[in-house]
């Protein structure tokens, strides 16, 4: 199962990467990330004047010898980076060839694996809620350490998708629930009639560094069914009649481009990294190439 999600070759290459956080870690748990917190580590940060009660072990005696004033040496405390992965497991993700959800959880697995290898805390939020694999989802809520990586991958592979999703609600809730802001990776098709702006806005407002990966199926980018059609929405059951011919392909492509552009512009305006991926995109191209180029991983 693990092998089907990520190949050993890819796992080995992912181990060499780490998530590049533009912000300092805010977690209270010690880790490998530099944080604003001053503490005990080998990384010197600053000096400050001694006040009564300070630990005398951190006094800089050399400086006292020169200036005859007491200064305290401050060190950066290295803490972990909370990585929150929002994985869309709605009904609409079960479509496509290859299936969008399969691709999405591969991406989630790759990012999660990178984070775990970097001693970061990975919290995967799979929405919508699903009774049948509630245990799996609960297990994915908080994963730490490299030793948990195998379980993390196994749990991801065992997930099932279905039901209607509310992207805004899921993101907003994820933003509120998080004790510490960190890195948020949202993997979805973003085809929610209610939109995505509020949810993403909530994450940004909470202080998350957000990366957006939009996954669309090849058929959504380039339809192959023509004629007089009655289209049924897999999530809402809404019906839409359309007469579609090859000569309207260009118009359709323009519609898709406009939709994607709108999301990209939204992200760009808020300093959010945006990636559009067809579910047929090779995983290593997305992770090892495009995410690296965008300095999401490095």
């Amino acid at each position: 199962m693990v092998d089907t999600l990520l190949s050993p070759e890819l796992l080995r290459r992912l181990e060499q990467l780490e998530l590049l956080a533009r912000r300092r870690a805010k977690s209270s748990v010690k880790g490998e990330r530099s944080s604003r917190a001053r503490g005990h580590s080998v990384e010197f940060a600053d000096y400050r004047s001694y006040v009564a009660g300070d630990d005398l072990r951190y006094l800089d005696w050399n400086l006292y010898g020169r200036l005859e004033r007491l200064f305290l040496k401050l060190y950066e405390e290295e803490r972990e980076l909370p990585v929150r992965i929002f994985l869309d497991a709605s009904e609409s993700m079960t479509f496509g060839e290859p299936v969008k959800f399969d691709f999405a959880r591969q991406v989630a697995a790759a990012i999660g694996y990178i984070a775990l290898c970097g001693f970061d805390c990975v919290s995967t939020v799979v929405f919508p809620e699903h009774e049948s694999d509630a245990t799996l989802r609960a297990a994915l809520r908080m994963v730490r350490g490299r030793k948990s990586a195998l379980a993390f991958l196994r749990n991801l592979a065992a997930l099932t998708a279905g039901g209607p999703a509310n992207l805004n609600e899921a993101l907003r809730r994820g933003a509120v629930e998080a004790r510490h802001a960190g890195l948020a990776v949202v993997i979805s098709d973003f085809l929610d009639p209610a939109g995505y702006e509020q949810g993403l806005g909530a994450l940004i407002g909470r202080g998350f560094q957000v990366d957006v990966i939009q996954v669309l199926a090849p058929e959504e980018l380039e339809p192959t069914t023509f004629g007089d059609l009655r289209l049924v929405d897999s999530e809402t059951g809404a019906q839409q009649e359309v007469t579609f011919g090859r000569h309207r392909l260009t118009a359709y492509r323009q519609t898709v481009e406009a939709y994607v552009r709108k999301l990209r512009d939204f992200c760009r305006a808020r300093g959010v990294s945006f990636f559009l991926a067809s579910s047929a995109t090779p995983l290593d191209e997305l992770v090892l190439k495009r995410l690296r180029q965008a300095e999401v991983v490095g």
Binding site: L191, P193, F226, G227, V232, S234, E235, E241, A251, Y252
Partner: protein, 611 residues
């Protein structure tokens, strides 16, 4: 633009139905998709979704509505009026002669003419009146003046072409009084122009529109035929025929001779452009019968390719010569083959036992009732003698008459002749400057040749032409040859045949097998029949015996099917073939064609849209 059938606009009620069909749900393929979000946006960008706005920019619907509009317009039959003067009188003369059966037009000239005439009927206004005349050998009024288009169409549809020559002058004479005093009257003549008799007709400013039908002349036909006794062997017959090539190409073919349906001989003929070829067949004949000449040449007119010639067996002709002297006349008669000659000085029994009586300068005690050749018989009631002419000078003779065939009056001097006026029954064959010298004609059923001078008091008996004339006279007066010629008529001419029995009815079987019963007037021992529009052999059964007669076209003017682009009326006037039809130009065909094109485009567009 007007409409002939404005009621067709009721079909416009179909337009909302077409729109309704568009508003109705179409049967669609149901497909489950991840999300309709993109599709909704796509549709929102390409078309509106409100019910009637859905129709906006729907080119398929626009095309179908256009198609429907064109069809409705076509059904309403719009036209551009050519002439709009109300209350016109239009006389349609439809040429139904043999040449109109030519197939150079599809399917024939006559059908083409009929189609054009029907178009003219369609273009009539309600106040217009039309007369339909069918002109063949005789002109029939097929429809008296009426505005009823149904009656006019029925009259035109009932017209049929015949095998007869054209006599357009008769048709124009009938049309003339109808249109004479009307300024808004028009004569529409549908013909190929093969009408030689029009030169006799004075035009008198008639408003004639000549609609010429026919495109070319590709025809070979038999224009004359005759069966005569062989000059050297009375048992053999010489069948003469003239074949005329009316086309501008060389043609070749076969001319077949049949006798009573039995094949006799065939002959290969080759004719240059507009060439006439005389053909003579010499055959032996054992019984009375019909020679059929059949021309096997690919051409476009069949009516002149077959000719039937009645031929009766020659019988020894009994001639009574009433003379005082005999001489040259008797000698001339004796050399005529197959002739039994009796010579007497008077007639005792009106010559009833003889076929021919020759009266040579004798006043018989009783006048013969059989065919007679009379020479200088003055006090008769056949001619009115007004005096005498000394040494009359011969100025003219009709060498086209059968009596004067090969007869020449050069160097014939006459001492004295009777001065007579030409009686109504006779035609003058030889004329002096102030009196006819030889007359020939029929009085009742009796043929008479009258010579107004004493042949012995002339140089004629010394000329070679004299015995030839005597032989011709015997041939012409011979009742057997009379019967033969009586048994042949031109198509359209009436036939009259003497009857011997007491039958009151005769059944005539036409060439196509139909039978007609003809009553016979008991007072007149004669059978008369006028329905001879078809070529062929007609059989007559009186219950007491069977006989037959032949009907043939034999008309060079009909065989020459070259379409004439102008008709000459009288000496000066002429009518050019009209190219601009005065008929209203209907548009429905163009509209229907446009509708078809729109339909094909729509089909293509529909497939392009859903493919």
């Amino acid at each position: 633009m007007s409409f002939l059938a404005p009621t067709a606009f009721a079909f416009a009620a179909a337009i909302p139905i077409v729109i309704l069909f568009y508003l109705l749900k179409r049967r669609r393929v149901v497909k489950l998709v991840p999300s309709t979000l993109l599709w909704q946006r796509f549709l929102a960008e390409t078309q509106a979704s409100a019910p009637f706005q859905k129709l906006r920019k729907n080119w398929l619907l626009v095309l179908q509505l256009l198609l429907l509009a064109l069809v409705i317009l076509a059904l309403a039959r719009p036209f551009f009026a050519g002439k709009t003067a109300a209350g016109r009188l239009i006389v349609v003369i439809l040429d139904a002669s043999a040449s109109m059966q030519s197939t150079d037009e599809s399917p024939s000239r006559f059908e083409r003419a009929r189609r054009e005439a029907l178009d003219l009927v369609n273009s009539l206004h309600e106040t217009d009146q039309m007369v339909v005349l069918l002109a063949a050998a005789h002109t029939e009024v097929r429809q008296s003046p009426t505005s009823n288009k149904t009656a006019l169409r029925r009259a035109l549809q009932s017209c049929q072409p015949s095998d007869t020559p054209t006599r357009l002058a008769e048709a124009l004479k009938i049309a003339h009084p109808l249109v004479k005093d009307r300024r808004d009257a028009e004569i529409h003549l549908y013909s190929d122009g093969a009408a030689p008799d029009l030169t006799e007709f004075e035009f008198e400013g008639l408003n004639v529109a000549y609609h010429q039908v026919g495109r070319r002349a590709l025809n070979v036909g038999i224009i004359s035929a005759e069966a005569r006794a062989h000059p050297e062997d009375a048992r053999r017959r010489a069948v003469f025929a003239s074949v005329f090539n009316a086309s501008s190409n060389n043609v070749s073919g076969e001319l077949e001779l049949h006798f009573d349906g039995t094949f006799v001989e065939t002959r290969h003929i080759e004719l240059g452009p507009r060439e006439t070829s005389p053909q003579v067949f010499t055959v032996s004949q054992e019984k009375d019968g019909v020679f059929t000449l059949r021309l096997d040449v690919p051409d476009e007119l069949a009516a002149d390719n077959e000719v039937h010639v009645a031929s009766l067996m020659p019988k020894p002709v009994n001639v009574l010569l009433v003379t005082r002297s005999g001489g040259y006349l008797e000698r001339a008669l004796r050399v005529v083959p197959n002739l039994n000659l009796a010579v007497a000085e008077d007639i005792v029994d009106e010559g009833a036992t003889y076929d021919i009586v020759v009266i040579d300068d004798v006043l018989p005690s009783s006048w013969p009732t059989v065919n007679t050749l009379t020479i200088r018989s003055a006090p008769t009631n056949w001619v009115q003698v007004t005096g005498r002419v000394e040494a009359p000078l011969i100025v003219d003779w009709k060498n086209t008459h059968p009596l004067l065939r090969f007869v020449n009056f050069d160097e014939v001097q006459i001492a004295e002749a009777l001065r007579v006026r030409t009686p109504t029954w006779a035609v003058p064959l030889v004329e002096a400057s102030d009196t006819p010298l030889v007359l020939a004609g029929e009085i009742g059923r009796q043929r008479v040749v009258w010579i107004g001078f004493d042949t012995m008091q002339s140089t004629w008996p010394l000329r070679i032409s004299f015995p030839i004339f005597v032989a011709n006279a015997v041939e012409w007066l011979n009742p057997a040859s009379t019967r033969s010629s009586q048994a042949m008529v031109r198509a359209g001419d009436p036939i009259r045949m003497p009857l011997s029995g007491s039958a009151t009815n005769a059944v005539v079987q036409l060439p196509d097998g139909t039978k007609r019963t003809v009553p016979i007037d008991p007072g007149v021992r004669e059978f008369a029949f006028a329905d001879t529009a078809r070529n062929g052999v007609y059989k007559v059964d009186t219950g007491e015996g069977q006989s037959w007669f032949c009907v043939n076209l034999l008309d060079p003017a009909e065989t020459d099917t070259t379409p004439k682009s102008e008709l000459r009326f009288g000496r000066y006037a002429r009518a050019l073939a009209t190219t601009l039809k005065p008929a209203n130009l209907e548009l429905w065909r163009r509209l229907a064609a446009a509708a078809l094109a729109v339909m094909m485009f729509e089909w293509w567009f529909y497939h392009r849209r859903t493919a």
